[in-house]
Amino acid sequence: MIRVFITDDHEIVREGLKRIVSDTEDMVVCGDAASGEELLRRAETEAWDVLVLDINLPGINGLEVIQRIGATKPGTKIVAFTMYDEASHALRVMRAGAKGFLSKTRPPVELLDAIRKVHSGGRYVTSSLAEYMFEKDIDLKKEPHQTMSAREYEIFLLLGKGKKPKEIAEQLEVSYSTVTTYVSRVKSKLSVNSIGEIVQYAFRHRLTD
């Protein structure tokens, strides 16, 4: 029996999740919470196999919850949920420690598949997310900057040193649009949205010394 704990701030969804999991033969619902705080409080005294978690929670956000659970209860597998845009959050959520990630628009049976998959030690992503990760050449086992191609890394370092895309294009003697394509790829791999954040990442990892 897989022991499942559910956290979602939307009541109708939470109740639905509880009933679907209860209705499944190889799973049991151990409890539910409507916020990250409630979840963390209960985590102090309870034990579960799989945690189903909406990453958009009021109060403590889902990412932080994943990190804290990962630290305090490393044996608990997490399946993370989001309403719509998988691609935007996937990397961050997976790197934070979630083993499964899917959108709430998927058919309910996929959630059950995800729970089983992560419980048995694997990862779960939807096929469209898998395609996206393949396209952006994302490898979850390595550090983000270690998953870059030589060219991506070269441009990443230059950005990290504070060079602007135009300067990079001139220096490397490539077209401006080539550089902007690479900037987009670097942003994807590092899960950041701006060049400023790229600079911060490079600084934090001491890659520009």
Binding site: H10, I12, V13, E15, G16, L17, R19, I20, D23, M83, Y84, D85, S88, K104, T105, P107, P108, V109, G162, K164, P165, K166, S175, Y176, S177, V179, T180, V183, S184, K187, N193, S194, I195, G196, V199
Partner: protein, 393 residues
């Protein structure tokens, strides 16, 4: 010599007739002189009226040629001296709530004529004419009554021009406000749909799933019910997709999260799949130099262009180029469709095109369409960009 014999009576009669003729001629001459005087007076008056007309036409010309109010006022002030009796002795000043302008030779003296400038009934300034030296007294000090008419007419024109400029300015503010309000609305609605509708649908789908489980558990042979439920589930899936699409066209999260480059890629991807049109894009800009208003405006322009293309162009290829060019960013959307007539003036433009034009204008930029029937269409937007030295997003 044969001379007719004239009697005394004949001679007296002839003399009488001669005297009458002379009198008549004198009367004609007097009339002639009078007519002549009237003519001269009329010509003089016409000459003065001509000066007035010249002045007023000149003002219309100045308004046409200049955009800034200050330049217009200066132009009008310069037109005043030639409109008065003694142009070399005349100088003018226009006192206006936005500032004062004067002719180069300006000097305040005691020989002054002023006309009040009124905007919406309130006096906001005056047109002032001064003679630099004393001259012969006329109807109003040294000034003619015709000049009083003229100064009042000029003051009235300045008032009307000011009102027009104020109205233009208000219109511009309203337009900008409208766009801001519109975007805020879209963002709000998009958020509400995202937060509420989607969740409820998810909940509904779970109920349908449970219904299916219970039904197929109790009545495993009821194929019909099972297939009805499967259909309902399929519809829910479709609604999820449609909702996602609505949210995306209202306010694409990806634009705020990942920027213009990625947002346009997704937009084109979706567009290409829906319409079968081959799309390519080249976005070579430094997004760090764009602010949120510029980003959303560019996105909307591209969005609107694509809508137009899918509706009217019958195109098979679309290309989007966005690049930095010195002080400006240039965006081009081209298609190989049937084209349409884009004349010199935005004549019968639809609201879509006007909206794009307006967005470009609000960013301080320019919008142009190049199109010819059968030769495709190219829309170009140029917006000024503030380049800065520091590291930015």
């Amino acid at each position: 010599m044969n001379q007719p014999h004239k009697t005394e009576t004949d001679l007296v009669q002839e003399l009488s007739a001669c005297r009458e003729q002379i009198a008549a001629m004198e009367r004609h001459h007097a009339q002639h002189v009078q007519t002549q005087k009237l003519l001269e007076k009329t010509i003089h008056a016409l000459g003065e009226r001509n000066k007035e007309l010249t002045c007023l036409y000149g003002i219309a010309h100045v308004v046409e040629k200049n955009d800034a109010l200050r330049d217009i006022l200066q132009g009008i002030a310069d037109l005043v001296p030639p409109g008065w009796q003694y142009p070399e002795l005349t100088c003018a000043r226009i006192v206006h709530e936005t500032g004062t302008v004067e002719t180069p030779n300006f000097r305040e003296t005691e020989w002054k004529q002023t006309g009040p400038i009124k905007v919406r009934g309130a006096v906001i300034g005056a047109v002032e004419v001064y003679y630099t030296t004393a001259t012969a007294p006329m109807d109003e000090g040294p000034f003619l009554k015709e000049e009083r008419h003229l100064i009042d007419a000029i003051a009235e024109r300045v008032g009307k021009i000011t009102e027009q400029k104020m109205a233009d300015e208000e219109l511009r503010r309203l337009a900008a406000n409208l766009v801001t309000v519109q975007e805020a609305e879209r963002k709000r609605i998009s958020r509400e749909i995202h937060d509420e509708l989607g969740q409820l649908l998810t909940g509904l789908r779970m109920e349908v799933y449970l219904l299916n489980n219970h039904l197929s558990g109790k009545y495993p042979d009821d194929q019909e019910s099972i297939s009805i439920i499967a259909k309902a589930d399929g519809i829910i899936d479709t609604i999820h997709r449609a909702t996602k699409h609505i949210i995306s066209s209202l306010r694409p999260n990806i634009l705020d999260d990942r920027g213009l480059f990625d947002a346009v890629k997704v937009l084109l991807d979706d567009f290409g799949k829906r319409t079968g049109i081959k799309c390519e894009s080249e976005i070579a800009i430094d997004e760090g130099e764009l602010d949120a208003t510029q980003t959303i405006a560019l996105y909307r322009i591209i969005q609107e262009s694509l809508t137009n293309i899918s509706r009217h162009a019958k195109a098979t290829q679309v290309a989007i180029r966005c690049e930095d060019q010195d002080e400006a960013l240039v965006l081009e959307v081209s298609d190989n469709g049937v084209g349409f007539y884009a004349g010199p003036e935005p004549f019968a433009e639809g609201w879509g095109l006007m909206g794009m034009r307006e967005r470009a204008r609000l960013l301080g930029g320019a919008f142009s369409i190049k199109s010819a029937p059968g030769a495709g269409t190219r829309i170009q937007v140029r917006i000024p960009i503030a380049r800065d030295r520091g590291i930015r997003g």
